[in-house]
Symmetry: C2
Subunit: 190 residues, 2 copies
């Protein structure tokens, strides 16, 4: 998506350790018009997929996911990071390793809000190693639902997670796919 | 706002300890159309306030705040809960006590994204003791900006925070104001 790539080139900063800082428009300060335009592009890509629910994980995925659910006319559910190790029996739970923060989170979704009746589009701001998508897919599968695919703002393709998920059979659509980043250049896959 | 009050009566559950569970449409599963309608009502209330930025706190305020920023045509900034006690010099930081979770969080906003040029509408899903609003107001004041007011989905008026803030001079608009909750009834202020 050209508008997103241009915004990454204008406002993104490459930090040491393979981190792309886009907190000026995507995950700290958010440009809601760009989020809306990204949501419309996801709607175009998944128009015929029968999406009944959008699923994301708190916190930085929520803005894009909420816009996406709005455009699809379906509910959004966000998986919560659990603060306790005691997981109650009324939630689906999974483990997600965070590339950015270097820790592991237990994420939960109430069983009331994710079930076998669901055709789920997973939405997130970033795709790197794929750990978050795997964890969210695991929640949907525990619930007996179907993952129709993933809609991602920025994929760091060079970290491999997206292509592994595609090889495993998941449909993954990323609105900007970065093949290579250096201190002074960002290259996209088209 | 009638549609919100009706939804609270239909889907809300009163739990022991003064907790109102509305995670079926507001803060776990989200109804994005209702979020959009609430955002439009906040736009109507604050139409002439010159809002240049919407500010909220992760995670459950983000969906409504993103819709609100979209309707106002301005950026959204969400304050992040800091995981470390080492606060860097490039952020504004404040302390917020959580009524629901019984703990205190340090919240931060990058100095780049909040400054003296800002006229800020603070948006959140709940207002109870007012601790979150006070913390967010503190961030705006540190930055030298102006708080034009707060836009809240549900105010638990009986907890007093909203009226204390109003008495202190803050404009607080809540789309549903609950005066009294029991196991089997919820009463609103009009």
């Amino acid at each position: 998506m050209l508008a997103l790539e241009e915004r990454i080139l204008t406002d993104g900063k490459v930090l040491p350790g393979g981190i792309l800082k886009v907190d000026g428009f995507l995950n700290h300060r958010i440009d809601p018009k760009l989020s809306y335009d990204m949501a419309c592009e996801l709607k175009r890509l998944y128009a015929d997929a029968g999406v009944s629910k959008v699923l994301t994980i708190e916190a930085s995925g929520i803005a894009l996911a909420c816009m996406t659910a709005y455009v699809f006319g379906c509910p959004l559910v966000f998986a919560k990071k659990s603060k306790t190790s005691n997981i109650s029996s009324d939630v689906w739970s999974s483990q997600i390793e965070s590339f950015t923060h270097g820790n592991t989170n237990t994420v939960v979704v109430s069983k009331e809000y994710l079930g076998p009746w669901d055709r789920v589009l997973i939405v997130d701001d970033f795709l790197a190693t794929g750990a978050a998508l795997l964890g969210l897919q695991d929640l949907v599968h525990q619930a007996g639902g179907i993952v129709v695919g993933a809609g991602i703002a920025i994929e760091k393709e060079f970290q491999g997670g997206g292509n592994e998920l595609r090889a495993s059979g998941m449909r993954v659509e990323s609105l900007a796919r970065i093949s290579r980043m250096t201190d002074d250049s960002i290259e996209f896959v088209h």
